[in-house]
């Protein structure tokens, strides 16, 4: 739903801009190209509407298990709403499933503060999934802070990879 809304908004903006531009021109301009069709992201389950453990490795959304954050922030950015939604749906569809949410930070800032920040990020993901119906007993939260770096350069690109919550399934059904 969200994606559809955003695409149509983008389309409206395109039309608006084109209209403005055409006022400046004397010659009639060809109509703006139609918005590209939405990318075929298969976020819905195929069979009976419920995700099954097999979908964890095949579904285009479910295979994404990391949510990325801005520096010193724990709010979930709109581009990760889809991942949060499909993972939450999986947990709703499979009440026996359990996940560990591992919070991580980039190396800036102190170790203990970053332990707190990593936990805050993981809890932010937990709350978002619970708001979509997942059960509190399905989550374990652990913060690694900046203790487990996966990228070792002092660059913004590297830091962006560190600021994340990994969703790790410990039980799939």
């Amino acid at each position: 739903m969200n994606t559809v809304a955003r695409i149509s908004l983008a389309a409206l903006l395109c039309v608006g801009l084109a209209a403005c531009a055409s006022k400046q021109e004397v010659k009639p301009t060809p109509p703006p190209p139609p918005p590209p069709p939405p990318a075929p992201t298969q976020t819905a389950p195929v069979s009976n509407g419920k995700f099954t453990p097999a979908d964890l490795n095949t579904n285009a959304c479910l295979i994404k298990r990391s949510i990325y954050f801005d520096f010193d922030k724990s709010n979930i950015k709109p581009e990760f709403d889809d991942i949060v939604a499909c993972q939450a749906k999986y947990l709703v569809d499979n009440p026996g499933a359990r996940v560990t949410l591992q919070g991580n930070t980039d190396p800036r800032g102190s170790r203990e503060y970053n332990l707190g920040l990593g936990e805050r990020r993981a809890k932010s993901v937990e709350q978002a999934m619970e708001a979509l119906g997942a059960g509190a007993d399905q989550f374990t939260v652990v913060s690694y802070g900046k203790e487990r770096p996966i990228c070792h350069e002092m660059t913004h690109a590297c830091w962006a990879k560190e600021r994340r919550v990994d969703i790790v399934y410990t039980k799939t059904e």
């Binding site: 800032g109 102190s110 170790r111 707190g116 936990e119 652990v142 070792h152 350069e153």
Partner: protein, 470 residues
């Protein structure tokens, strides 16, 4: 603010040295490599003459005079002559030509000698002379086994430091730190205790999961630390002599940032079982927890003031991390830091007048020291860009902190509290982080006897004349 303009040149020097100074391979795999980065010409000139060896036997491999010399330089208040600049080698008082040392503009002279004393012991005798007054300020002797000579050298350096500056020396102390080797799934953490100059490293714990935040008990017998070995954080206290350890807290959520009270009976910590990290104080005898902060933000990194009455901690209750102070027995919380976007990771010196912190401005994180006696004026003592975990030597004269380089490799620096001298402690094949400077191993004042090392009181020494450091 003069110091600020000094920082870029410090950084340049450090970089230059990083590029050229190839670390010698240490004898021990775990050993840290020590390089002195720079010095200041205004330091007090002192010459430590190589000690003589007066027995027929093979002299011990430990060069006591060289260790004393290195200690004097790394504290930032002294400069020494080395090598061929030491033009004469007196080992007894009668051999000193004061005119020579006056010509060389030396204020103080240390001489000494060693001899085989039987039973495998070495006797070390030393004297400190004031070149101007030509008076002996200090004399003493130790009997020790060869493997104890590094400790003996640090203890002599402590006495020299005290005789000249009037403050106790802190060279005969230990540091704790965490090393990491490997990356990804092969990463391994070790908690290590070593001499203050990085020698004699001893592994306290090894783990396949993160170890962090070591904190010394005030008597130096125990370390509190955080381990994620169980999959989540837990706080342990480990006895360094016996290796025995006690699980202090493994509650749900974060169990972090342990800090012994000055008396050693209580442990402050950050626990998040209530929802967000809050500061708690545990009575170590009863295990009773008292919650100090009640705030929905991150509250962590408690540090006791020396009187044990108040705790400084980090909180982002105002949006970004800043330092706050609160009385332990309740009372109002006051914000301490207003300069800089990001202030955390505090350390308090021996008299509570200096609070060091990690201060972030933009993407540059440096160690800053706030002087509570000077209207909370802040000075920077490290160049960044990613410096953290400051801790003071027990006499407040030096700080130890961690720094992360461009490839993510962590090293430690010891820096004089005036920022003048920095020395790097690095691991050849890994990272070093989370340092903590330990307490005095011998209380300042009259020397206590330690097993294996006997001290002969300086009977003939004249009264030392303390002199304020320049």
């Amino acid at each position: 603010m003069k110091l600020r303009s000094l920082i870029p040149s410090l950084a340049a020097l450090a970089l230059a040295l990083c590029g050229t100074a190839l670390a010698p391979v240490p004898a021990h795999a775990q050993g840290l490599t020590l390089d002195v980065i720079n010095g200041i010409p205004s330091a007090i000139p002192i010459t430590v003459v190589p000690f003589g060896f007066e027995s027929a036997a093979q002299p011990p491999s430990t060069d006591v005079a060289a260790i004393i010399r290195d200690d004097m330089v790394r504290c930032g208040q002294f400069r020494t002559l080395t090598g061929a600049d030491i033009v004469e080698h007196p080992t007894h008082a009668g051999q000193i030509h004061f005119s020579t040392w006056k010509l060389l503009k030396q204020d103080y002279l240390v001489i000494g000698r060693e001899r085989d004393d039987g039973n495998g012991q070495v006797r070390v005798e030393y004297e400190l002379w004031n070149v101007t007054s030509q008076k002996k300020m200090l004399a003493g002797a130790y009997n020790a086994l060869p493997e104890e000579l590094r400790g003996v050298a640090h203890r002599i350096a402590d006495q020299i430091y005290q005789a000249i500056t009037g403050r106790p020396g802190a060279f005969y102390t230990r540091i704790a730190y965490v090393t990491t080797t490997g990356r990804g799934k092969d990463m391994q953490w070790s908690l290590v205790v070593a001499d203050s100059d990085g020698h004699n490293p001893q592994v306290v714990v090894r783990s396949r999961q993160p170890l962090l935040s070591p904190n010394w008990s005030p008597d130096g017998s125990q370390l509190a630390y955080v381990s994620l070995e169980s999959g989540d954080s837990a706080i342990y206290i480990q006895n360094l002599a016996t290796g025995q350890r006690r699980l202090v807290s493994a509650r749900k959520g974060i169990n972090g940032a342990p800090a012994f009270s000055p008396g050693g009976r209580r442990l402050a910590m950050a626990l998040s079982f209530g929802g967000s990290p809050e500061i708690y104080v545990m009575d170590l005898a009863t295990g009773k927890l008292t919650q100090l902060t009640h705030n929905l933000s991150i509250n962590t990194e408690p540090r006791w003031l020396p009187d044990g009455q108040s705790i400084v901690f980090t909180s982002d209750r105002s949006g970004k991390p800043q330092l706050y102070i609160k009385p332990v027995d309740g009372g109002a919380t006051a914000r301490l830091t207003f300069q800089g976007e990001y202030n955390s990771n505090s350390a308090v010196n021996d008299d509570g007048s200096q609070i060091a912190m990690m201060q972030g401005i933009g993407n540059v994180y440096r160690i800053a020291v706030m002087d509570r006696k000077l209207d909370n004026q802040v000075r920077f003592i490290s160049p960044g860009p990613l410096d953290e975990s400051p801790s003071f030597a027990p006499n407040g004269s030096m700080l130890l902190y961690a720094s992360t380089g461009g490839s993510g490799v962590g090293v430690l620096y010891e820096v004089a509290d005036n920022g003048s001298v920095r020395q790097r402690l690095s691991l050849v094949n890994g990272s070093v982080q989370s340092p903590a400077w330990g307490p005095y191993r011998i209380p300042p004042g009259p020397l206590a006897r330690q097993p294996g090392v006997s001290y002969v009181a300086p009977g003939s020494a004249q009264t030392p004349s303390p002199q304020a450091p320049r």
